[in-house]
Assembly symmetry: C2
Amino acid sequence: MTSYQSFRREIEALRQAIRRGEYTSHTAGLARGYLQANIVIASVEFALDFMRYCQRNPKPCPLIGVSDTGNPKMWTLGADIDIRTDIPSYNIFRDGELAGTATDIADLWADDLVAFALGCSFTFEHALLEAGIDVSHITNDTTVPMFRTNIPTVPAGPFRGDMVVSMRMIPSQRVGEAIAISRRYPLAHGSPVHVGNPEAIGIVDVRRPDWGDPVPVPPAHTPVFWACGVTPQAVIRNARLPMCITHKPGHMLITEVPDDAEVPVVLKNKQGELR
Amino acid sequence: MTSYQSFRREIEALRQAIRRGEYTSHTAGLARGYLQANIVIASVEFALDFMRYCQRNPKPCPLIGVSDTGNPKMWTLGADIDIRTDIPSYNIFRDGELAGTATDIADLWADDLVAFALGCSFTFEHALLEAGIDVSHITNDTTVPMFRTNIPTVPAGPFRGDMVVSMRMIPSQRVGEAIAISRRYPLAHGSPVHVGNPEAIGIVDVRRPDWGDPVPVPPAHTPVFWACGVTPQAVIRNARLPMCITHKPGHMLITEVPDDAEVPVVLKNKQGELR
């Protein structure tokens, strides 16, 4: 059995468990070597401005997939991905406020909806781990700490606001290496947006994240901040969309696109087979 | 005077000449170190599908800027870029057919139009030249040869069709190097889509390009093919848009975004100054 076939079996089992609502936890560390994605689902009325927003802010919002309007199958990201069921946990926003969570949104899906997939930091985290740089929220099986900042994003239509970042405490002598590794993954937020001084980007207390779980702040470590795919969840509040659905932070869509792909598309040959 | 100030003076003089219709030639070799862009202008009715098409085909269509609907100022790409006047030569398509050319489209601009800027191979050509790899269409001051292929693109809405590629004859022992250099520029088509065998991608005669000028085919050189931003001009024919405007191949928009930028946006600080 090839490594790809082995991956397909693993991913298929995991996807079925998520689809049935049996797996509802975060997805850090799962399906290593493949892109995971933040998700935003909104009415087609807002889709063009949201795509502009992603194009203008590719570090927090690296767009790796966009569904056809009304089609819940995200066929560019995998052979059988259904965005209504294939995320472990969803956030549902109404008029910009978090109105509930769900493990399935089949009853909310409608013909006017468009789903957007944005690359995720799990991709470069795998590369950090492979380089022997410890990532404590993975070691401790918690959700990465995320913070609101005062870094402005570039606006598009109703979408505007400050960037959300995720934080990792990196051994100070390896910060340069961590920057270089993450820069190799532009589809997964690329290099950090800030290193070292949380106050400079408006973070008062690194021990109290706005999303996710706190992490230890050990000596001889430096806080490093990467643009985060939760940024749209803050921006949606500002835009006050009547209805919008996202993943629950940390609970991602698992795609079938290798994380070192130049193009975030599952390409098929002329016979329709994956190539 | 800093290098950036010097660039601003050069670019400003060139832009004014283009704007007044005095410079109408191709832009290869100009404003080195800054992104140049292929342009597609279409009604907002088609904009979402066209953005999806670009997202699904980032090698031929690396999206580096999208205007606000009806706003001819492409403010994310420079302090004073007006898409109605700042391209040396435009192609105008009606019902999918080339209906004319112009050096100014002020009379065609309308409130429903959206302009899209796609990265351009001039970026990696500068890097090839700096590495001492000769690029003969630049040396000879001609337009790069471009060809239709049989490589399918990933469809979105009415946009579908085969990829257009540009060709460079590379000294055979330096092909690996040329691939590695171009791969560093994902906003400028990235690595080649094919090396060596034109017939394998449906090109009958490399001496007869579909766009641009023929180049010499010297011994000990290998034809290398990169995805090309003229692809949308072929795709527009298939989509039969009632009206669509593009740049004339080789005659690009010159932006103020450095070609090694991680983010294709002219970022400003909170005081509105370029940073």
